[in-house]
């Protein structure tokens, strides 16, 4: 059985900080995904989600975010590196869902003011991705020294990122299609 719905790959902008450069990276990724035939995308800005902090997990689930995660076949998660890790509010948002993520693909985009492109945040993030039931791909996109990658308006200044995003998305889409086939057609051994 083949599901003919277009793939859905939203981009999660994982920071609420004012003046965040990660927003440029997230919009760039949305534009790259939008070029792909048969793939739908949108930007999900965690700062726009009604996510209270007086509870956690299922207790703060936002129905609209949950519905988007159900629709998604893969996630692109854009995370800055804050104090060598990813933002706590990003995890707070992701922790609000679970069944929505199982056997879906994830790719991480790291952003940093310094030269390492969020690699420490990404490494920290991998066990979380795994426990959420997502399947992480082996390509990342690393926006190091991000102030030199985008100008203030968000215009890309380094075209090498187009090729890097292309490789990342090739793998993510392959994984998304494969996992969708598995979710739809391959039953768990029992």
């Amino acid at each position: 059985m083949t599901n003919s719905r277009p793939l859905s790959i939203p981009v999660i902008l994982g920071t609420t900080r004012k003046g965040r450069m990660s927003a440029h990276a997230a919009r760039f990724m949305v534009a790259q995904i939008a070029k792909r035939a048969g793939v739908a995308t949108e930007l999900i800005d965690i700062s726009k989600l009604p996510m209270p902090v007086d509870d956690a997990g299922d207790g703060v689930k936002d129905p609209e975010f949950s519905a988007k995660m159900v629709r998604a076949d893969a996630l692109v998660i854009v995370t800055p590196e804050y104090n060598h890790s990813f933002p706590g509010l990003l995890k707070h948002v992701l922790d609000s869902c679970l069944k929505e993520y199982i056997h879906k693909a994830a790719g991480i985009v790291g952003v940093s003011a310094g030269p390492f492109g969020g690699v420490r945040a990404i490494q920290d993030f991998l066990p979380v991705i795994r426990e959420l039931g997502l399947v992480n791909i082996f390509w990342d996109v690393n926006f190091g020294t991000v102030s030199k990658v985008f100008d203030e308006s968000g215009k890309l200044l380094d075209d090498a990122f187009v090729a890097r995003a292309d490789k990342f998305l090739n793998e993510l889409i392959w994984m998304a299609r494969t996992l969708r086939y598995g979710r739809d057609n391959i039953a768990l051994e029992s």
Binding site: N3, L98, I102
Partner: protein, 62 residues
């Protein structure tokens, strides 16, 4: 642990769903404790997907 064999029906479109994963869930509330599988160290949730519309659903394994 005996598995539930009956197919879940998609709450959105009514098609049979595919049971594609079991996920170990940490107990959060006190009442969850009675559902913990001592051999596995948590609660087991069955994950189902609808091949027709892509909806996801889950239920506790029994």
């Amino acid at each position: 642990m005996a598995k539930q064999k009956d197919k879940m029906i998609c709450p959105k479109c009514g098609d049979e769903m595919n049971h594609h994963a079991d996920k170990l869930i940490d107990p959060v509330k006190p009442e969850d404790m009675k559902h913990v599988n001592p051999a596995l160290g948590g609660m087991v949730e069955e994950m189902h997907c609808c091949p027709a519309c892509g909806a996801a659903a889950s239920r506790r394994a029994e």
